[in-house]
Subunit: 323 residues, 2 copies
Amino acid sequence: MTTSPWGFGLDRELLMVDEKLRDMVKSEEELLTEAAIHVIAAGGKRLRPTVTILSYKALGGTDIEKIIDIAVGFELIHSATLVHDDINDGGSTRRGRTTVYKKFGLHNAVVTGDFLFVKAFALGGTYDKNVVKTTADACQKLAEGEILQSSYRHTAGITLDKYLQVMRRKTAEPIKAGAMVGAYLAGGKPEEIQSMGDYGLNLGIAFQIVDDILDFTGDETKTGKTVGTDIKEGYLTLPSLLAIKDSEDSAGVIRGAVTNQELTSEDVRRCVEVVLKSGAIEKAKGMGEYYGNEALQHLGSLSNTPYSQSLRELVRKVLDRDS
Amino acid sequence: MTTSPWGFGLDRELLMVDEKLRDMVKSEEELLTEAAIHVIAAGGKRLRPTVTILSYKALGGTDIEKIIDIAVGFELIHSATLVHDDINDGGSTRRGRTTVYKKFGLHNAVVTGDFLFVKAFALGGTYDKNVVKTTADACQKLAEGEILQSSYRHTAGITLDKYLQVMRRKTAEPIKAGAMVGAYLAGGKPEEIQSMGDYGLNLGIAFQIVDDILDFTGDETKTGKTVGTDIKEGYLTLPSLLAIKDSEDSAGVIRGAVTNQELTSEDVRRCVEVVLKSGAIEKAKGMGEYYGNEALQHLGSLSNTPYSQSLRELVRKVLDRDS
């Protein structure tokens, strides 16, 4: 991928991000490079670098060299967690491609994720203490979100509040950190950095909500993901949590499915149908809009530039995406 | 563990290391803290912090606060790799304790290792670019060593040269990095930093050779490890490689064992016996002495202080250890 999936005229910057990503994973051990490239080249949306770079530019940052490395660092952290997540979920495809876990085996997947973390560290560690602390804190929350999510796997015990805690930590905190670091490196004032962080946090939650909706409604040829994967893997997400509230019948089917570790495709299909019929998707979309709107509120004090405009448009694109 | 297993009057410093280690792994998610403490509290030899601190002091460093954080960082990296290694090896005990993998499961072990890496980054990233680069480069080599070792698992294809490459990268490079960082932070000259690095590298190889010997000769109540674990897990190490050269009969038994993924305890016992009878242990000890001596050579230009004396004694203790 060499052009921004979001538009915004960031083609040159995201090309630099991609070049740097590929450069960072060069290793004497070809297998390590190959496995790392396998996940990086799968593309993805480069949401984290996009937010980091736009935040930097929106706050007046002009030295692109100064922001690329940490933008790449956030993408490397994200890639590392994808590789390690796939081990947990036993997932065989991601973004329509075989996972590193399936293609290279358990041990190589563990080490490839570690390698991607190390390369993120090599980049992030060249910045000052504030950047290091913001980034490391986000990574810690990410790990905590993973542990929390895992503790509810194959149970029907997660509440809406706990679900939001997981999403916030796993997905939104690293995006928040990228937005804050962008603003900080541009020389933003403390309140500006905080506002960009709040923008990133809410954008991240909205992004994850849409992800969880697409797991029920998505076109598999566009998402590269089989519908119902979350249920199959034992996770209740926003749509299924809302459907459980809809009726006792729906709740029974969904609880039965998520706690069953031997679901057939037919079981999954039936559970997805129950969620789709319950009206939960519309409610979940409403919550996505809520967080999207919250994100926009935090852009209020930004001067009107092409970059602040792009940050606004990004919210809409995140909410309207179909892949 | 609150006293140095090596002596050297580093009790106070290693107590600080232990306190900082425990402090670093505090998390809102109790399970994460518990799993991290599980590996940290198992003790181990704290070789990496010991080398880092001694190197700093031997080069005249006096501000202990300045060196503790990175010494802890190296131990966190080591702990992270232990947790992830145990996943690969499916090992159920380490240092006589249940592994994180067996006690907390696959996913929690993956995330706990990541968490320990992140906390190392949080510490290492507060140092200057030279320290970050030295540390990150060592971590990359560590990952490369893991991949290289894994590529020979359950095969009889590894050569002595490749074995040494694996040991150098997996074990010796991080110890070398700790020694170099200690010397650098003490204000050592480039050639002094290089010498300390060469010391650490050779000490690390000697340490790993003794580890591999103890896998054949160790008293299980002292090592906490079952004799023959390397063979059982499919790895040829120095003693078995040397025994293969001893006779065609030995070679046949050992090659047969290491390529067999369904070894019984009796198969392992027989293979260990073949190695013990071959004279390979004595040759391996000779190689350990060689690297130990190389390590000592690189201390030649150090002024004679209690700390340079401790670095010398450490070589002997590493070579003579029985656990």
